[in-house]
Amino acid sequence: MNIVVLVKQVPDSGAERELRSDDQTIDRSSANNVLNEMDEYAVEEALKLQEALGGEVTVLTMGPEQAGEAIRKALQMGPDKAVHVLDGALHGSCAVATSKVLAAALRTLNPDLVLAGAESTDGRVQVMPHMIAERLGIAALTGARKLTVDGGTLTVERQTEEGYEVVTAATPAIVSVWDTINEPRYPSLKGIMAAKKKPVQTLSLADLGISPDEVGFAGSTSTVVESTKRPPRQAGTKVTDSGDGGVQLVEFLATERFV
């Protein structure tokens, strides 16, 4: 099975994150950049399928030069090779423009299965798998907590707030996964050494036949105009019980829509 895993470098969600004051894009110099956490689960799922079914696992990312670090981290876990779409004109691309680029890169790789994390910890829009599926004309099985492959049929337990749905599709398809699906492996020394020798192909927009004005700030359908820092955490409400403590608690819960 030919599997491509979409990965993304994001600012560490545990550190303070900022937008650049000049163009409102993520300030990648202000935070530690890491492989998006949910992507590690997608890589793990791909490796488990490869161990069971054979085939090849390729990691695909779009991002600036330093996104190569996320590729290396992913390759240390075990995939065979990587493709890095790298082009100065991509800076400022929105989700729609990004999906155009990733779909074009996926066409060159011709996968049976595309795996992705259900969301990235920076944008958190969760739409990339759907957009890519639409562009490639393949099925999107999103939010998986379990994936099984039987020949050319994929079956996914799709996690919902109430429980799960079972959905199936024929390959090729794209599946996005939550962190309930597996336990990602920690890179071993052997994996770390092997990753150094794995091929990383760099593709430009010209290689993909995409014009610079279709992506970046020029080709994006949405732009961040301004941003405001998250307000500091407010002090909590203190309920003093003078006989009506219970009522006050329930009123609070009702106001906050917890009950």
Binding site: R185, Y186, P187, K190, G191, I192, M193
Partner: protein, 375 residues
């Protein structure tokens, strides 16, 4: 000395593992004195038990620098897990790898290297520790079997559910010490109840009794009569690993204490604002740093095939003593909380002392260093 990019990547991988897998559950194991099988299984999966062994036995093809990096990062969070790895690799599997026949290696190593099995190293006896040449355990050849009688004390990894063997040293003649592999479950090989220890409470340590234990003559490990020289070399290497582990504990004391000093307030400000605390922390960090440099240097000499014995002794002596000092300072900075077992620094304080004792006491290290100066 700068580590390679690959070793830094290994450090990051083990650091993540220690924080995400070890830290959340280890206090419970420590309190209950239970062996963390699930953590050990996952350490095996990520190849930690195979770090310094070649790929033909399922190893990672690394060396003692790689092992030390992993031990340091584990010990920053917990020493029980770190000593389990250290003893399994340096004392359990390494003698089999160094001195075993092709057959012995094929039989025992793959499971040890993958962490599916653990091996112990039975050197110390109830009456003989530093004076290890005084071994009283005896092995007599009877036909094609060794018959072994004696007792061993404080043997790490000797009584877990996955322990496959213990290599014991025994007198095989007058002034002749040899090493013999005793598989777990051999009749007459009795593993006593686990000790109640001051520290390393989630690691496995037992007394062993050998009562007419019969093993095949082919279980002799290395040359007959070379047992003493073999374990001296084994311990020399192991000292680098213990120095790395001690460095990790010393660094863990810095990590915890810096975080606490920034948060804890007294007299209207964070206690880290007082020089009484910040100077302590500066000294603690400096100690951890110098201990790291010392073990890096000893490991680099070992890897380069140079004389390393005296440097391993200096690294072990220094790292273990500064680990005790840092643990004492860390608990002092934490005040009353530092005396509560639920705080990592309390565990560090309990775990630090044995570093000055195990795998060669501080006194033995000083003897090794002094002898190297012709004294």
């Amino acid at each position: 000395m700068q580590l390679t990019e690959e070793l830094e990547a290994l450090r990051a991988s083990v650091r993540d593992f220690a924080r995400e897998v070890v830290a959340p559950v280890i206090a419970g194991h420590y309190e209950q004195h239970t062996f963390p099988y699930e953590i050990v299984r996952q350490m095996g999966k990520m190849g930690l038990f195979g770090l310094p062994f070649p790929e033909e036995y399922g190893g990672m093809g690394g060396d003692y620098l790689a092992l030390g990096v992993a031990l340091e990062e584990l010990a920053r969070v917990d020493s029980s897990v770190a000593i389990t790895l250290e003893a399994a690799v340096s004392l359990g599997a390494m003698p089999i790898y160094r001195y075993g026949t092709a057959e012995q290696k094929q039989r025992w190593l793959p499971a040890l290297v993958s962490g599916e099995a653990l091996a112990g190293f039975g050197l110390t006896e109830p009456g003989f520790g530093s004076d290890a040449g005084g071994t009283q355990t005896r092995a007599v050849l009877d036909g094609d079997e060794w018959v072994i009688n004696g007792s061993k004390a404080f043997i790490t990894n000797s009584g877990t559910d996955i322990t496959s063997l213990v290599t014991v040293t025994a007198l095989t003649g007058p002034d002749e010490i040899s090493a013999i592999v005793v598989p777990s479950g051999t009749p007459g090989f009795e593993v006593g109840p686990g000790y109640s220890k001051v520290g390393w409470c989630a690691s496995d340590t037992h007394p062993l009794h050998l009562d007419d234990v019969r093993v095949p003559a082919a279980n002799l490990l290395g040359q007959r009569g070379r047992g003493f020289a073999q374990f001296l070399h084994t311990l020399d290497e192991g000292r680098i690993a213990i120095a790395a582990l001690a460095t990790g504990l010393a660094q863990g004391c810095v990590d915890e204490s810096v975080a606490y000093a920034k948060e804890r307030r007294a007299f209207g400000r964070a206690i880290g604002d007082f020089q009484a605390i910040s100077f302590k922390l500066a000294d603690m960090r400096t100690r951890a740093h110098t201990a790291r440099l010392a073990w890096h240097d000893a490991a680099a000499r070992l890897v380069a095939g140079q004389d390393f014995k005296q440097y391993a002794a200096m690294a072990k002596l220094h790292a273990s003593e500064i680990a005790v000092t840092n643990a004492r300072e860390a608990t002092q900075i934490h005040g009353g909380y530092g005396f509560m077992n639920e705080y990592p620094v309390a565990r560090f304080w309990r775990d630090a002392k044995v570093l000055e004792i195990g795998e060669g006491t501080s006194e033995i290290q000083r003897m090794v260093i002094a002898r190297d100066m012709g004294l």
